[in-house]
C-alpha cells in the first residue's frame, strides 16, 4: 500500500478519496502514545512524594496498600519541629546571602553583555553558563581544599558554602536578566539621559524598575537552587551546619525513615511554597 504511485492517486481522487491505509488495528491508535507517556510520567513524578507525605502523617509505620495513611497524626512534625526549624534557619542563612550576592554580581554582568561591546565579550558569554555544567563535586572539592588548607583557611564554612552556591546559581540570575534587558528599548535609557539623568541614575530610575519581574524570577531560581543544594553543601558542611537537604539525608541515613519523611515534606512545602509565591508575584506584580 505504501508504494501507491502518484498516477493511481490522481485517477482515484476525483471519484472517491483514497481510504487511509489501516495498519496495526489490534494496537491502540498511535496518537494515544503521547497522552499515555505523559500520564505515566506524571504518576512516576507524583507517587513517591505522595507516599512520603502519607508516611509522615501516618500514626503507625504501615500504610494501607502501601500508599494511604491508616490514621492521621502530626506527632512527627511536633517532635521534630525544633530540628526542622533549625535546618530551615540554616538554609535561609545560606540562601539569602546567596540571592543577594548573585544579584549584585550578576546584574552588572548581564548589563555589560547586553548593552556594551568590549574585548572579551564573546569569552564572557561562553563562561556565564559554565557553572551550570561544571561538575559540582569538582567545584566543591576545590573550594574545600581552599577553605581547609588553602588561601582561605580559617574562613567560616558558611562563607565557603555561600560562595559555592553563588557560583552555581549565577547563571540562574544572569539569564533571566539578560532576556529582560534584551526586551527593554535601549532608547528608554537614552531618553532619561537626554532629560538630564546621569548614566547610573538613568539605569536605576528607568531600566531597573522595568526589569524587576525578571529579577524576581532570577531570585526565585537562585533561591530554589540554593535551598535544594545537596551535592556542594555535603562536602563543605561541618557538624554545626545542617541545611534542609543535609538534615533529611542525616535522618534517613540514621534509619529514622518516618522522621526523614517529615523533614522532607516540611522542606518540600517550604521550598516549593516560597518559589510558587515568588512566581505568582512575578506574574501578578504589574506596577504599571
Amino acid at each position: 500500500m505504501s508504494g501507491l504511485s502518484g498516477t493511481v492517486v490522481a485517477e482515484k481522487l476525483p471519484t472517491a478519496p483514497v481510504p487511509a491505509p489501516r495498519r496495526g488495528s489490534f494496537l491502540p491508535p498511535f496518537r494515544w502514545i503521547f497522552p499515555a507517556t505523559t500520564l505515566g510520567l506524571i504518576l512516576f513524578i507524583i507517587l513517591p512524594p505522595i507516599t512520603l507525605l502519607s508516611l509522615s502523617v501516618n500514626d503507625r509505620f504501615d500504610l494501607v496498600w502501601g500508599i494511604f495513611p491508616a490514621g492521621v497524626s502530626f506527632d512527627l512534625y511536633r517532635e521534630s519541629g525544633p530540628a526542622i526549624l533549625r535546618s530551615v534557619a540554616h538554609s535561609m542563612r545560606i540562601a539569602v546571602p546567596t540571592v543577594i550576592l548573585s544579584f549584585l554580581v550578576g546584574l552588572p554582568v548581564a548589563y555589560a553583555l547586553v548593552r556594551l561591546r568590549f574585548p572579551g565579550r564573546g569569552l564572557l558569554a561562553e563562561l556565564v553558563n559554565l557553572p551550570l555544567v561544571f561538575p559540582p563535586i569538582v567545584l566543591a572539592f576545590g573550594l574545600m581544599q581552599m577553605f581547609k588548607q588553602g588561601p582561605f583557611a580559617g574562613v567560616s564554612p558558611w562563607v565557603a558554602i555561600v560562595l559555592g552556591h553563588t557560583i552555581v546559581s549565577l547563571p540562574f540570575m544572569i539569564q533571566p536578566i539578560i532576556a529582560a534587558l534584551q526586551r527593554v528599548d535601549i532608547a528608554v535609557e537614552d531618553a532619561a539621559r537626554s532629560l538630564g539623568a546621569s548614566p547610573l541614575r538613568a539605569f536605576l530610575t528607568t531600566v531597573l524598575p522595568i526589569i524587576v519581574p525578571s529579577v524576581l524570577t532570577g531570585v526565585a531560581l537562585v533561591f530554589a537552587r540554593s535551598i535544594s543544594d545537596f551535592e556542594i553543601t555535603l562536602l563543605l558542611t561541618t557538624p554545626e551546619i545542617s541545611t534542609m537537604p543535609i538534615a533529611i539525608y542525616q535522618a534517613f541515613e540514621s534509619g529514622s525513615t518516618r522522621l526523614g519523611a517529615a523533614v522532607a515534606m516540611a522542606t518540600n512545602l517550604f521550598a516549593v511554597g516560597v518559589i510558587v509565591i515568588l512566581e505568582v508575584a512575578v506574574r501578578r506584580v504589574r506596577w504599571w
Binding site: 505523559t38 513517591p48 576545590g142 521550598a271
Partner: protein
C-alpha cells in the same frame, strides 16, 4: 585619538562591571581546577593542592601519568567509568523517548500544557534529596511496590531488592532530570509549525507516518542536543547513586567515587588519584557541553530553551 578614547571608556566600564563575576569564577572555579589538574599529574604523595596551600611546588611534582593509567586499568575504576557512562546513556535515552512523548503532547495541547508543566516542574523545585528518598521508600522492601506485589497479591516469593542496582540509580536520575528533558522537548516541538502536520496528513499520511516522516526528522538535531545535555547533567550528579547505589559494594559512579575518596582521604588513596578522577569527569562534561553548543547553534541559533532550569 578621540575615537580610541571613546572605545576605552566603554571597555573600562564593561570590565569594571564584569570584574566581580570574573574574579569569582577565576578564583573559585578555574584556579582550583587548574591546580587539581596539575596535582593529577604529580607523583608526590602530599595532601593539598599546588599553589593553594599544598606543600609542594612545581619542583616537587615528579610528573607522571600513572593516576590516569590506573583509572583505565584497575578493575574497580574501570567498573566505575563503565557504570557512569552506562547510567548516563540509559537515562539520556529513556528521557529522550519520554520527553518526545510528553513534550509533543504539551506542545500540541495548549489547554493541558500549563498543568502538565506545573506537575513536571515539581522535581526541579523540590530538593533532589527528597525526591531520591521518596523513590527509595517507594521501592524499599516495606514500600508500596513490594507491599502490593508481596503482601497483597503474593505474586512474588520475597520482596524485590531494589537498592544497589543499576536500575535504581537510573530511576532516581530519571526523576531528577525529567523536568529538563520534557521542557526542552516541548520548546523543540513548539518550534515546528503544526501546518506541516496538516500538510502531511492532507497528502494522505497517517498520524504515525506524519510523526516518523515529518516531525522526527525535523526534531532530530534537537533530540541529539537533549540527549547530550541530559547525558552530561546525569554524569555529574551523585545524589541518586549516593542514596540508591547501595554503598561501596553497590553501584558507584564517577562523582560518587570522588566523594568517597575525599571522605576517606586520610585512610586510603592519594590526593593525586582524586584529582585525576576530577579531571576526567570535568573533561568529559565540558566536551559534552561543547558538542551540545555546536548542535544548538547550528540547528537552532540558540532558540532551544531549557538550559536554565
Amino acid at each position: 585619538m578621540q575615537k580610541s578614547g571613546l572605545i576605552r571608556r566603554e571597555t573600562w566600564l564593561a570590565w569594571l562591571l564584569v570584574a566581580p563575576f570574573a574574579l569569582m569564577l577565576l578564583g573559585l572555579l578555574v584556579a582550583p581546577f587548574l591546580s587539581i589538574a596539575l596535582k593529577s599529574l604529580s607523583g608526590s604523595a602530599t595532601f593539598g593542592l599546588p599553589f593553594l596551600g599544598g606543600a609542594d611546588g612545581l619542583a616537587d611534582m615528579q610528573p607522571t601519568a600513572r593516576h590516569y593509567v590506573s583509572i583505565l586499568t584497575e578493575p574497580h575504576n574501570q567498573a566505575v567509568i563503565l557504570n557512569t557512562l552506562g547510567i548516563s546513556a540509559v537515562v539520556a535515552s529513556l528521557l529522550t523517548v519520554i520527553g518526545v512523548g510528553t513534550g509533543y503532547f504539551m506542545a500540541r495541547n495548549r489547554a493541558l500544557a500549563p498543568t502538565i508543566s506545573a506537575i513536571v516542574t515539581y522535581p526541579s523545585l523540590a530538593p533532589a534529596v527528597t525526591i531520591i528518598f521518596g523513590i527509595l521508600w517507594f521501592m524499599s522492601p516495606t514500600g508500596p511496590i513490594n507491599h502490593i506485589l508481596f503482601h497483597q497479591l503474593e505474586w512474588i516469593d520475597e520482596p524485590l531488592e531494589f537498592s544497589g542496582t543499576f536500575m535504581a540509580i537510573v530511576i532516581g536520575d530519571l526523576a531528577l532530570f525529567a523536568t529538563l528533558a520534557v521542557r526542552m522537548m516541548a520548546s523543540l516541538f513548539e518550534m515546528i509549525d503544526p501546518a506541516l502536520e496538516d500538510a502531511s496528513s492532507s497528502l494522505g499520511a497517517t498520524e504515525r507516518e506524519t510523526f516518523f516522516n515529518v516531525l522526527l526528522p525535523l526534531a532530530a538535531p534537537g533530540l541529539a542536543a537533549v540527549w547530550v545535555f541530559i547525558f552530561i547533567r546525569t554524569m555529574v550528579a551523585y545524589v541518586a547513586a549516593l542514596v540508591l547505589g547501595g554503598g561501596a559494594k553497590g553501584i558507584v559512579v564517577l562523582p560518587l567515587e570522588i566523594f568517597t575518596r575525599i571522605q576517606s582521604l586520610g585512610i586510603s588513596g592519594t590526593m593525586a588519584q582524586i584529582c585525576a578522577f576530577a579531571v576526567v569527569l570535568s573533561i568529559i562534561t565540558l566536551a559534552g557541553r561543547a558538542i551540545y553548543l555546536v548542535i544548538v547553534r547550528r540547528a537552532f541559533r540558540d532558540r532551544l530553551k531549557g538550559e536554565i532550569l
